[in-house]
């Protein structure tokens, strides 16, 4: 075991994992994190806490994770490279481990122009690939990026993102391979709406044997309204939603119900895809729906290890 987290145990034991996401509040209330954590705790194996997603200032991911930890939830701390340099990031990683956080997901970070501080300076001292490698070196070589020694153990289960829908499609598997080589233990993908394209990507992943080296969890986003779908299609970086899904929502009598039915159908298809080891439900701001999605997808009860 690299970190001995619940997520690691589930994935390494070969079971189909389910993770969810909790968005921290634009405020200092721990109660918000607790409430959202309580909502999903029995339906999933681990919970991501976003790091100022879409470049909007929120409570820090490390604090959110620490609060989830008190509920017995296995947190996945997200780290973006947009806001901190290598000194701050490595320091936060050590702090997270000290607080008992074992899963860390490495991300580039959405550009700050979409957020609530568009005039801010971005950092990108290191990129997501270099962050993965840095965590691996901290854990396996006991070394900081500088090469200097880290004292004590650095147990981390390293996560990374993959977007099978971004350009260039042909390079997306090569990029995944690069992340695996850099040290990723698990992958959470961008939301899947185009299952055919995702299946083709997974075929290429399996052809290269990457499914044996890393655990891939497919991203799923329940859609609350047609407006949300259009917004995601047009403004959320990296998300691709085919027109037929938008049309289906537009024509549905109850868009909200359809917005749950669509991801459920997608999950049904995802479960059949060889090499896929789980799903990651991103229902930020609609955490209440997660238990229903997991239950209706036939993924309850979650295994206790």
């Amino acid at each position: 075991m690299k970190a001995g987290t619940n997520l690691e145990k589930i994935l390494e034991s070969g079971q189909f994992a389910v993770t969810a996401e909790v968005g921290p509040p634009k405020g200092s209330s721990p109660a918000v994190i607790r409430r959202r954590g309580e909502l999903v705790r029995n339906s999933v194996d681990a919970v991501n806490v976003t790091d100022n997603q879409t470049a909007v200032v929120r409570m820090s991911s490390v604090a959110g994770c620490a609060i989830l930890k008190t509920l017995g939830v296995d947190p996945i701390m997200q780290i973006v490279c947009r806001d901190r340099n290598r000194i701050a990031i490595q320091s936060d990683v050590l702090g997270a481990i000290a607080l008992g956080i074992g899963n860390i997901l490495c991300l580039s970070g959405d550009h700050q122009r979409f957020g609530n501080h568009p005039t801010s300076k971005s950092v990108f001292d290191i990129d997501s690939m270099q962050l993965i490698q840095a965590l691996k070196n901290m854990r396996d070589e006991k070394q900081f990026i500088s090469g200097e020694e880290v004292s004590g153990e650095v147990p981390i289960y390293i996560g990374a993102a993959a977007n099978p829908f971004a350009d260039p499609f042909e390079f997306r598997v090569a990029r995944l391979a690069k992340k695996v080589k850099a040290g990723a233990d698990f992958i959470q993908t961008q939301a899947v709406y185009d299952v055919d394209r995702f299946r083709r990507w997974m075929e290429a992943v399996c052809e290269r044997g990457l499914d044996k080296e890393v655990h891939i969890l497919a991203g799923v986003i329940p859609i609350r309204s047609v407006g949300m779908a259009r917004y995601m299609r047009d403004y959320v970086a990296g998300v691709t939603i085919p027109d037929e899904i938008i049309t289906r929502l537009e024509q549905a009598e109850k868009a909200k119900e359809e917005g749950v039915r669509i991801p459920l159908e997608i999950i049904e298809q995802l479960k059949e895809i060889p090499g896929l080891h789980g799903i990651h439900i991103m229902a930020v701001g609609w955490e209440d729906i997660v238990p229903e999605v997991v239950e209706r997808a036939g993924l309850l009860p979650r295994p206790v290890l």
Binding site: C81, S108, M129, Q130, D167
Partner: protein, 227 residues
Amino acid sequence: MIVAEQKSIEEISRMIEPYGKVLILGCGTCMTVCDAGGEREVSFLHSALDLAQARSGNGVHSFSEYTIKRQCDLEFLEMLLGRIEDVDAVLSLGCGVGVQAVAERFPDLPVLPGVNTYFMGMPKEWGVWDERCTACGDCRLGDTAGICPITRCTKGILNGPCAGTKNGKCEANKDMDCAWVLIYQRLERLQQLDNMRRYYPPRNFRTIPRPRRIVSKATVEVGVNNE
């Protein structure tokens, strides 16, 4: 070349307010090519400032104009002798380097920047300039098919593309090409895609301890070209 854009008349008017006699100083190199501060722009700005003054009814300034070959070269600044003795300030349409060179050469003379200096780049089409180089001091263009990710990727990442690229465009700006897609396409064309499969470690930002200085060994130590 260095690319800049002229400041607004309002901002320039505010800056020159304390000064009576103002020399509008153009630059004959980059600022001429990017239409920000060459001889033509100096003349236009002169007319515009005269007009603004006439409209406001406060005729307090008198302007003169002159353009030298390069403001960033102390040698060319000697041409200003005989023209600046009776002015109260120089309004430089040189880039930030030019403004500072004038200030350095003439310690008693106020120098005001008439342009905002943006980047090192090239003309893309008529009236359009694109940034190309960040002067990072650690050139990677050999690995990236001659397309700079430090400058042209909005995140400046070395292991791109990130997950935000859509239809070949950048997540930060749908009109802007994703530099990493361009790099991919050109590497593919050159049959060098392995360059992109390789891992690039974190950058060494010690190559840019500001301000930087380049010393030519041949010139300074050996004395070549040093008459």
